[in-house]
Symmetry: C2
Subunit: 232 residues, 2 copies
Amino acid sequence: MDAQGTDSPEAPRRARGRPRKLPDARDEGNRRRELLRGAARLFRSRGFAAVSTRDIAAAAGMQSGSPFYHFESKSALLHAVMHEGMEHAVRSQQAALDGVRADALPQERLAALVRHHFEILFGPEGDFIPVMLYEWRSLTQEQRHSIARLKAVYEAPWMPVLQALHQQGRLCTAPPLARLFILGALNWAVQWYRPDGPLSLDALAQQALALFLGPPAAEPFHLPAQPLETPA
Amino acid sequence: MDAQGTDSPEAPRRARGRPRKLPDARDEGNRRRELLRGAARLFRSRGFAAVSTRDIAAAAGMQSGSPFYHFESKSALLHAVMHEGMEHAVRSQQAALDGVRADALPQERLAALVRHHFEILFGPEGDFIPVMLYEWRSLTQEQRHSIARLKAVYEAPWMPVLQALHQQGRLCTAPPLARLFILGALNWAVQWYRPDGPLSLDALAQQALALFLGPPAAEPFHLPAQPLETPA
DNA sequence: CCTACCGATCGGTAGG
DNA sequence: CCTACCGATCGGTAGG
């Protein structure tokens, strides 16, 4: 009620009354982000074609025509959701891999990738990637190429890990197919896993890894001390 | 051009000129089926909300209002696609299991289930089940219950097989989670597998099984003749 | 970013 | 199953 437009450095912050959202230029990035987040949530739960631009505007507290001030079209908004989601996922995955020891075993690297992938699907920004996964067909061809490029960057680090596991004999599927099946199994969890349920993301990742790699023990196949012959 | 309405038993069949589709009562089942098949194909490729009832009518060679002679609403048409697809899948899966020897190993039963599942996804009626998989959110709550019942029937035979494999130690994931991950990996193939590509459905199924069960050899874990201890 | 609006398209229906 | 039609909603825009 009082102190409108008071996010200048001098204005004292009051505990009550959220700071007003100002329509000036400095705020535009935030309004755009609100549109993206609302659109991601709506696209994920109802599907691109079933959500109107009016729904998206209302979710951001705007009038019906206002999203078109920030985005050229509804289609551009969908593409932006996917693009921002993938850019975040790529950066986040790289950070996760950087946190793995340099001498880590391939199964530890796969564990990091799987655990991170679940974080992307069910973490705080968890609507963006499912939209990409399930609204692919709503993109134009050029938009698909643009997202496909980012997807290739995201999936690239999986291949050396799967190849190493294949050579060790812990993975009996051709690595390119293994990647498709594994990411499919993980992505499908969007359909049934509930983050607020009894199963933690850690436990979910562990169970998935057990399915692909067998027993999580350090020694493969529960063999006694007898060393495993490694193919040249 | 000639011989209109000549599918009475006396009329000789000509090689040229398809027999005309008659609008009389005997044909209604076929017209309904054509609507279902066209709707399934369109829903799969473009999504429920992005397909108009006019598109569906045109695919069956009808005028815009005519689908509503066969189905109460667009929503009822979607539900019918899923329901027919699931009823067919349940019957077909039962037949596939009936074709397995009574003393078959659990891994052979899983192979039959996986192979059959790919047949459902990529066989001649291959649009119906993907629509069910990817348009779940477009159903009303009552429709969801109706389809969920059929889905439970379809998935039921997977559990004893996975439990047996778990007890044998060939599956290291809790069977209910294994079922979700495995069906997810298979269902995701809808996004990337092309039946007209170089990889056959048999090879696809074999690669998937290798991922879940390890080496396809009869002896688990490449152990020598030494028998595996089976838990009581 | 809002107001006011446009042309197009949509699901569905009455009557035959 | 077709013809002709209705009310509602949609993506998008001009002007401020």
